[in-house]
Every structure is written in structure tokens, then in C-alpha cells.
Symmetry: C2
Subunit: 335 residues, 2 copies
């Protein structure tokens, strides 16, 4: 069935089941001029929004509709995680070409609802409309955080340890497979594809880091690690020194790079769409933070370098220092 | 200069000046992973979002960039007005084709900022990206309202008077000029064009109606008066009876219809994009409400019919009753 046969209101009825997973505090969900809900007393509201456009951010057919829905929501949840906040309400705007099968749009919402349900996020509203050429999805997420716990970009100080809440580079390797049309013919390549299509927002990790009192700045890794750390460095007025051999690079990424002749460090630094959290920890509290993180999440909090007072971006590799390329996507070699 | 020459971050620097017009309560504006701001204690947060797609909702070149920016924000403010709320923060996602002049995008933001400034709405964030074909704008607006003042769609009762906060039909007449490429060669036609390109959200009117204690349901007229009142009727479980001769139709619309041979009542009922407020008022309080409205706004609050207990949609015209077509855009004659 095509989207134009269902119509806007028929479509809203199709998708709204299961959208409200946490009714407390919600006065109005889908169906009025606006959604209405309470923000917990004493907390700040957080709002983030991301726009995904076909042929720019995704190719229809390269990812399943469920993957696309998952990712459209995940990238927004990741922004809330990077603030140390709790995600609460999501608003989904979608522009659908008339010839797009309505089952595909159902699939997008299925992927979105599954992820939303997992993190107790309500889908409370949005907008549904047609499009002449490309499928377009805009998701806006409202969250909340106590002001004193909020993780901003601008609090890093020289001497702070730079942390990462997970590995980097896998997603970019998965994208390479998609763009080049290479078959994912072993478990390692399938894991890379999954890292690209199904990023897991580090919500619990973000809350843990926010409550710790040890973290001075944070960001989620979306543009690429070096580009995102450059945002933190610029906002905080500090420099950055990263040790290449400290980067958490998966064995799947290593095997991929051996097989196709790429540099895993470049993938780690400039890959993008990793959706792990990076930032700056108070050096006096960092060792205890790492222990507590590992006890809680059963995997390490990685320390990959430190914030410096010289304002420069530096990479230490094989005993040599060289300027750290700050570019993310735009400067990816071979792009 | 083309958008692709400026880049995302260069572009953000271009547009962010003047976006923060009400700094109190705002902890983080443009520049971090999310915006952070306080919601006034005891109020509900309201969120609405609208997605505008080139060749579906607008034609580049038919409206000025400033008009486009104005309207993209205005339609969202109107949704907050229809809830009886105060609009506070706006989030603008925009996907721009590479060949789009960056001056056009500057113009879109100029139109948006001018309207935002007028209603003390901060533009606190959003997303900027490329597009392969069409210009796409998604605006999300966060507002606030006291729960007991909130104007929902589902509170109308049989016997309530149906009100309108302004005239209907002008915008659809303006659209006719745009779509047919007709020149706006007199002041009346220019007024119709302006009604289409520069709708004024009824923010103060919405707050007035919300505080009055006399209004039981409200909606903004976007799909067309009969379609929007049908939403209220359905949500409230009531019927509707409208008197054609009570519809507030402008002299410009009357002249347009005489000149081009259209029925002004059809334009009023099915036009759409009027962005006035419609709804149901307690009949015991309606006359006083109308007097207070006129004293405050120097123009009438129109009463055009009443909510009924029979569940039907009825139009009274020339002494005869006939079914009121509930369709808006989709059923506009000749579309």
C-alpha cells in the first residue's frame, strides 16, 4: 500500500499505538494542537533535534526501515545522554514521498517505538506530510536534567583526563561496506554494519557520568572523535593531546582494516556516528571514576589523553607528536 | 554565495546572532548538544512541531525567504496559541540544497527572528544539513501553560457557542493567486497575498481566551474551518451547526470571489491556513467574553454557530440546512 492511499489521519492512527510508554506527567499526547507534559520541579528542560534527509544521511534500501527509525531517534537520545540528562518525550516529523510503501513507514515507527520503549521515552507528537522527492525525518527530543549535574562542553581544564565511554571507528567501517556495496560475509563485518545501523545511545552512561561529580565536560561522538573533541576544546579554551595507542578500537575494526588496507587510527579519530560519550574528567577523581564505571557497566571507561594548556590539538603516535586533524566527516581520507 | 561554500559551522555563526531574545531561565542556547532552559514552576510544557517541504508546502521563488521563515515559525506559534499557552523556545531544523544561495537562508532566518523577537521567543537550537533536492524546514516550539487554563480540543458541549478570533478564507484566496500566477494588481489582492504569506499567530488572543474561563475547547484554523471544527467535534463527541451568513469574510475576499467567480463561503469553510482560533464558549459567558474581547483587541470575537447534541455537521444557508463538508484541503473544490 502506498502512503498517499492512507492519508495523514489514517496514518496517524496506524502509528500512534504504543507511543505513550510513560503516562505519568503527560497531560496531552498525540491528537491536540500541541503535546502537554510536566517537567520535574527544579530540573532544566533539554531539547535537541536532528534532521535526516534521504540521499544525504541514508539511502532507502541500504538500511531496513526499523534501522532507520532506530537511528533517527538514537542520535537524539545520544545528545541528551551527552548532557547527562534523562530523555522523556520525542516528537517525530516525517515527510514521505507518495510512492513510499506505507509498510516502510510503519517499520520506521516500529524501530523508533522499540528504542523509545527501552528508554521509557514517549512519542508524544510530530507532523506527517508528503514529499516530492526524498524521505525526510526530523526527531526532536525533550529531556530533563538537574542544573548542577548538567554536562556542558565548556568546563574542561588543562590536565583533565580525556575519557571515552566506548569504542570508536566501527560505525564508519560499517558505512564503508554500505557505500561500496560490499557484502558483510562474516560475523565481524556484520558487527560493523550493526554499529552503523543500530547505534546504542549511552543514556545510562551519561547519567552515571553526570552524577559522579568527576566529569567537567562531555559531548557525544557524532562528527568524529577529533572533530567532537575540538568542539569541547574550543568551548573550554583548552588544547588536546591524544595517545593513538590508547584509542579503543575493536578487533572487528582491526580485521576490517587489515582486509581492506585502511588505518584503524584514522577510523577511530575521524570516523563519526559512534554515539559514545567523550569528555574531560577531573584527574584527581578519574581513577575512582573508572573503577566505578567498570563495576557498573562491566566494561572499561577509556582514558585516551589529556586536556592541555597550549590550545593545540596533538596526537602522540609511535613516540612522535603531530597535529591532530580536527576534521570529522568533511576531511575523511578518501571521501 | 552558495550554501555548500559556507559549511555547517560557518552557517551557524551567520544565523545565531539575535536568536536569544529572552535570556532569563535559559542555561544553554545554540552551541552544545542540547539546549537547556527552565519551565516555569507549576506549568505544563507544550511542544508542537511542523515540517515544511518545498514543492509540497511552498514554492521557492513564490514567497520571499523572509515570508517563508515567518510562516514556518508562525504556524507553530499558532498551535501554542490554540492551547492557550505562551510560546518560549524555538528549534529550527533546515535542510538546504547545495545550490541554494546562502543569502536566501539568511532571509529565512531573518523572517523567523523578526517574528520570534516580536513574541519574545528564543531560537535556541536546531539542526542544519544539506539536501539533494528540496529545501526542508522543521520548526519545533516549546511553550508553557497552566494546566487549568489549557485549551484542549475535547471540552466542547452541546449548546456552546462556536467562536472565531478572526476572518477566514483570505489565505486560500492568496494561495490561488500564487498557484495560478495571477498578478496582485490592487490593494485587495495584495492583502490576500499577505494573509497567505504572513499569517499572524493569535498569541495574545489565545492567552486572553485561556484566562477568560469561558472557553471550553479551541483549535487553530490550519486545515480549513470545517475540517478543524470537525476535529473539535470528534474529540468532544458533539455536533456542529454553522450559519453561513455569520462567517467573517473580508471585503477583499468578497471582491476576489466576484472577480474570479468563486463562492466566498466555500473559501471561508474550506480554505485553510487562516491561523485564527476557533472553538467553543460557554453560552452563559459568551456575551461578556465578546464584549471583553472587543474592548481588548478593538475587533469582534465572531460567533458563527453552536455545538449540538446530534453529532452531525450542519450548515445553515439561505434558510436551509445541509451537511457541512468536513473536508479541508483535501476536498477543496477545483483542487
Amino acid at each position: 500500500m502506498e502512503f498517499r492511499d492512507v492519508g495523514e489521519f489514517g496514518f496517524i492512527r496506524r502509528i500512534q499505538r504504543g507511543c505513550l510508554v510513560r503516562p505519568d506527567g503527560v497531560a496531552l499526547a498525540i491528537g491536540d494542537d500541541a503535546a502537554a507534559f510536566a517537567v520535574p520541579g527544579g530540573e532544566l528542560a533539554l531539547v535537541t533535534t536532528d534532521l535526516l534527509v534521504e540521499r544525504v544521511h541514508f539511502l532507502r534500501g541500504a538500511a531496513s526501515p526499523e534501522d532507520l527509525g532506530h537511528k533517527a531517534l538514537a542520535v537524539n537520545l545520544s545528545d541528551i545522554a551527552a548532557m547527562g540528562g534523562t530523555a522523556r518525550e520525542a516528537f517525530v516529523s516525517i515527510a514521505v514521498p507518495g510512492d513510499c510503501p506505507v509498510e516502510d513507514v510503519d517499520g520506521i515507527y516500529r524501530g523508533m517505538r522499540a528504542l523509545a520503549g527501552e528508554f521509557e521515552v514517549n512519542i508524544l507528537g510530530g507532523d506527517t506530510t508528503g514529499s516530492r522527492a526524498d524521505l525526510v525525518i526530523n526527531v526532536a527530543v525533550v529531556g530533563a536534567v538537574r542544573e548542577q549535574e548538567m554536562l556542558r562542553r565548556d568546563g574542561a581544564r588543562p590536565g583533565d583526563w580525556i575519557f571515552l565511554s566506548g569504542g570508536v571507528g566501527d560505525s564508519r567501517a560499517g558505512l564503508h561496506l554500505v557505500v561500496e556495496g560490499l557484502p558483510a560475509d562474516d560475523d565481524g563485518l556484520r558487527a560493523l554494519l550493526r554499529a552503523h545501523h543500530r547505534p546504542r545511545p549511552h543514556m545510562a552512561e551519561g547519567r552515571f557520568l553526570a552524577r559522579s561529580g568527576a566529569v567537567r565536560a562531555a559531548i557525544d561522538v557524532s562528527d568524529g572523535l577529533s572533530a567532537d573533541l575540538a568542539h569541547v576544546a574550543e568551548a573550554s579554551g583548552v588544547g588536546i593531546c591524544i595517545a593513538a595507542n590508547r584509542l579503543p578500537l575493536s578487533k572487528h575494526l582491526a580485521a576490517f582494516c587489515r582486509r581492506f588496507g585502511f588505518d584503524p587510527v584514522a577510523y577511530g579519530l575521524a570516523g563519526g556516528e559512534d554515539y559514545v560519550l567523550a569528555g574531560a574528567a577531573d584527574p584527581a577523581k578519574a581513577p575512582a571514576l573508572a573503577r566505578q564505571f567498570e563495576a557498573r557497566f562491566r566494561r572499561p571507561l577509556y582514558f585516551i589523553g589529556e586536556m592541555t594548556g597550549d590550545g593545540r590539538m596533538t596526537l602522540v603516535q609511535d613516540g612522535k607528536q603531530r597535529p591532530l586533524p580536527s576534521g570529522g566527516w568533511d576531511h575523511f581520507p578518501g571521501k
